[in-house]
């Protein structure tokens, strides 16, 4: 299957600062990919390059097209929410529907209206009269009614309360996602989305730290928790990160078999696959050390 996104040696610098330094990755159709990294890691720059909003070096193909030279064409199949606050304040809800219906051949107005009926948003309201959560609901209603093949979300729930965030991701997953669609998203709140991701890409200081399907993480990464006296033997096996939890120590390993870890850690060692947020912290701290 042709990949939805194919990035080869993607680079972008602002003056002397390398925002993105030789990043390569591939995204297959029907995946939900989390692009995860600390502030200033280069996530937004990568997304902007994919959306044709910024120029870059290296090669990048999105749905078989170059987002730099074929952006207008690409935007028929790609949709994005860059930020919750970008809907213009003066826009009326019904005008927003008119506009998207007028310019997007794949917009299903009745679907957007149906979605809006489930909210408290009135069609005659202007965006500045809506709460931040409602603006997000409106934006989501507009975007979800577009039959796009790639949806890109850059911190879509920033500044929203937990209820809206949960609702946002539930809607995304239940009403939108299917195996022909691909979603690429970034967020700070990793733990909230880790259950819905199929793939993770970690990025730090412009470099790719990890690129893996979530189902492959289990075979590759193991977190071993032991009492302090079991640490020395495990350290021999070169953990890439360790931290203390309530007097016990958690050590993170890549590419070690459970058998050798159990042998080194002793009978009281607990082995498990680290959560994505644990892995994220471990990887970021590990790469900084």
């Amino acid at each position: 299957m042709t990949p939805v996104i194919e990035a080869r040696a993607l680079k972008k610098h602002f003056g002397a600062t390398r925002a993105v330094d030789s990043v390569s990755f591939t995204v297959a159709p029907g995946r939900i990919v989390g692009l995860i990294g600390p502030n200033g890691a280069g996530k937004t720059t990568v997304l902007k390059a994919i959306l044709g909003l910024t120029r870059f070096d290296g090669t990048l193909q999105v749905l078989g097209r170059n987002p730099d030279s074929q952006r207008d064409d690409l935007m028929q199949d790609v949709c994005f929410i860059a930020d919750v606050a970008v809907l213009p304040k003066w826009l009326r809800v019904h005008n927003a529907l008119d506009f998207v219906a007028g310019v997007h051949p794949r917009f299903d107005r009745s679907r957007a209206e149906e979605f809006l009926r489930k909210t408290d948003i009135r069609l005659s309201s202007r965006v500045h009269e809506l709460s931040k959560g409602m603006v997000t609901q409106l934006h989501l209603a507009l975007i979800l009614a577009i039959d796009a093949r790639l949806l890109v979300l850059d911190e879509p729930t920033l500044g929203l309360d937990l209820l809206f965030r949960r609702q946002f991701y539930d809607t995304l997953l239940n009403d939108y996602f299917d195996k022909e669609r691909t979603i690429l998203l970034t967020t700070h709140q990793v733990e909230e989305i880790e259950h819905l991701l199929t793939d993770v890409i970690f990025i730090n200081r412009g470099h790719l730290i990890l690129d893996s399907a979530v189902e492959d993480l289990a075979g590759r990464y193991i977190q071993v928790t032991v009492a302090a006296d079991g640490v020395a033997a495990l350290r021999e096996l070169r953990p890439f990160y360790e931290r203390e939890i309530f007097g016990r120590v958690a050590l993170y390993f890549e590419g070690r078999s459970p058998a050798e870890l159990t042998a080194a850690g002793g009978p009281h060692a607990e082995l498990r696959t680290p959560s994505i947020s644990d892995l994220f912290v471990a990887r970021m701290q590990g790469s900084a050390q």
Binding site: K48, V86, P88, L91, F99, V103, D178, V214
Partner: protein, 325 residues
Amino acid sequence: MTTADTNVSTPERPLTDAPRASATLARERALTTLQMLIRRELWEHRALWMAPLVTSVLLIACAFPAHIDFPDFTRASSDGRFRDIAWFAALQWGLTTLQFLIAAIVVNFYLLDCLYAERKDRSILFWKSLPASDGATVLSKLLVAQAVVPLGVYLLSIPTALLFSLVWMVRASLGHLPPAVAMWDTVAWLKVEVIVLFTGVVAALWYVPLSAYLLLVSAWARRSVFLWATLPPVLAIVLEHVAFGTRYVWSLIAYRTGGIFDYVHIQKIIERTIFSAGSGHPISLSAASADLARAFGNIDLWIGLAVGAALTYAAARIRRYRDDT
């Protein structure tokens, strides 16, 4: 986490239609998009239609003041009929011109603001998430300034003039105004309307480079668009004068602002078609049209259009690649 297998029934999306059918479709879609983009401008920049409407209402309201002294019109004279027509034509011309001038001021501020405001509030990220190209977007703004608003003001000026005259006729019949002031001459009125329309077309074309320049500044400046639009020309004029003692920049700007009206002898048109009626000559539509048609033979008009096209293209390129959100 498995993908949602339940939605497999989504029909296959046709990615490539037959080329010929898709070309027609693409053209239709481009037109719908452009139309939508233009409507969008009128939603956002309400001053574009509110200002002309308010102007019209105020002008009509001005027809109501209780006492005006018209000494000339109270005196009887031999050429009274022609003088009345001259007065009437001048009034109609003046009302319409005033509305165009006010609309022009609003339009200039609109042009300076439109590509800057969407970057300032970051809504450009929303507009850019939809398949409306930067070229179409910038073009829609130029069309609003050079075609939609002028045409709207022109159409609005007709009922405004009619209502104004109606009010005066009623007041004259009540004896509040001398009857000569409240005259109506349909032929003269139609002639003035045609001349105004023709002048409007020439002006809209002549001002394309100026409008495109404002769009370019709006797309480019990070802040203080008004200063960026006005300071460079002023500095250029001053520096040129200090350094070389010449005034080429000043002449260029003056020419590009009002030059076409000298070229088509607008003053002569006004005098001949409007005021000279007072000296017994009828309004000459053909002479006025011939003068205005000269504009199309002026190479500078076409150079201006070419420069305007280049500046518009540059503004669209900047909107495409400006990355400051």
